[in-house]
């Protein structure tokens, strides 16, 4: 299982790196088109970028609230962790879809 996963990941990395190869000949020798790895990579990148923005905003407000009121640390910590994990899970849904599309 680990070995096949390593092989799949190496192939994915190579496919993402060797994009010009697919741009030259648009033949459909394999069932999947050239757009599939592109879509997976782009989709995950956009999800990760937006997740970074959202988590940055959440962390910024938490740190500012902590600076105003250092005594509220326990309650703030719980809300911060909950918020970060929920935002992160949205990016992870995109990752799951990307993997489903690639396989």
């Amino acid at each position: 299982m680990r070995k096949t996963m390593m092989v799949i990941l190496a192939v994915v990395v190579m496919m993402l790196v060797a994009m010009p190869v697919y741009a030259q000949g648009a033949d459909a020798a394999v069932q999947k088109s050239w757009a599939v790895p592109l879509a997976a990579g782009l989709g995950m990148a956009i999800a990760a970028g937006l997740c970074g923005l959202g988590q940055g905003k959440a962390t910024a407000s938490a740190v500012e609230a902590l600076a105003r009121n250092p005594g509220a640390r326990p309650g703030l910590f719980i809300f911060l962790i909950l918020g970060l994990a929920l935002i992160e899970s949205l990016a992870l849904y995109a990752l799951v879809i990307a993997f489903k599309v690639l396989a």
């Binding site: 299982m1 680990r2 996963m5 390593m6 990941l9 190496a10 990395v13 719980i78 962790i81 909950l82 994990a85 992160e88 899970s89 992870l92 849904y93 990752l95 799951v96 993997f99």
Partner: protein, 246 residues
Amino acid sequence: MPEQLRFTALLNRVFAGPVNAFLEKLPPAFHPKYPEAPISNGVAMEVLVVAILVLLFLVVRSRLSVEKPRGSQHLAEMLHEFISGQNEDIIGHHSERFIPFLSALFLFILIGNLIGLIPGFESPTGAISGTLGCAVVAFAYYNLHGLRAQGPVGYFKHFLGPVWWLSPLMLPIEIISHLARVMSLSIRLYANMFAGDMVTMAFFTLIPLGVPVVFQMLHVAVSFLQAYIFTLLTTIYLSGAVAQEH
């Protein structure tokens, strides 16, 4: 023969016959793809995690003492304080009856996440079947307690929303959002564990020495965090189901 971990091979060697017989007797008779190995890796690892937890509980129970508490008792008390404090914050009064289930859920997910780091073992939560099991159990638990606390009619009124003329709109939305909780709980845990493995593997193909260890450490931190998040969200759903307007 499928690729099996050592523990799975041990379980299959001992229990393959009875498990196959049991699977034949079920209403849709299951015929496993490899009849000599009907127990999959995920199921075997879950059994191992439960066995480890039972062993831990027995050890802690045998070392409890009032005068001279030892290390394991301190850990158990810390866990109990943590879950009980969180319950009181979120659910309020009468929350003691939820502590056993939430502690068991937290410990199962935590040990299940961490066991994947040991070579030769695999996380039961690293497969969607394991996490879906945890999510469905949590869903059933909070719905059953909501039904028990408020009766079927009172619990159904929850789904209708705050005002009566919005209820045809609110009912499908509430039902879908409740079902989406199962999906989000299971996929969040699965994707975190799976992504940890993938990211370690990705850096392993690039730099096989030193760097993947950093990602294993990240995986440890993520395991703790995700177990905590699962328990916290289950507590929040419980509070939503059990809360009574005074």
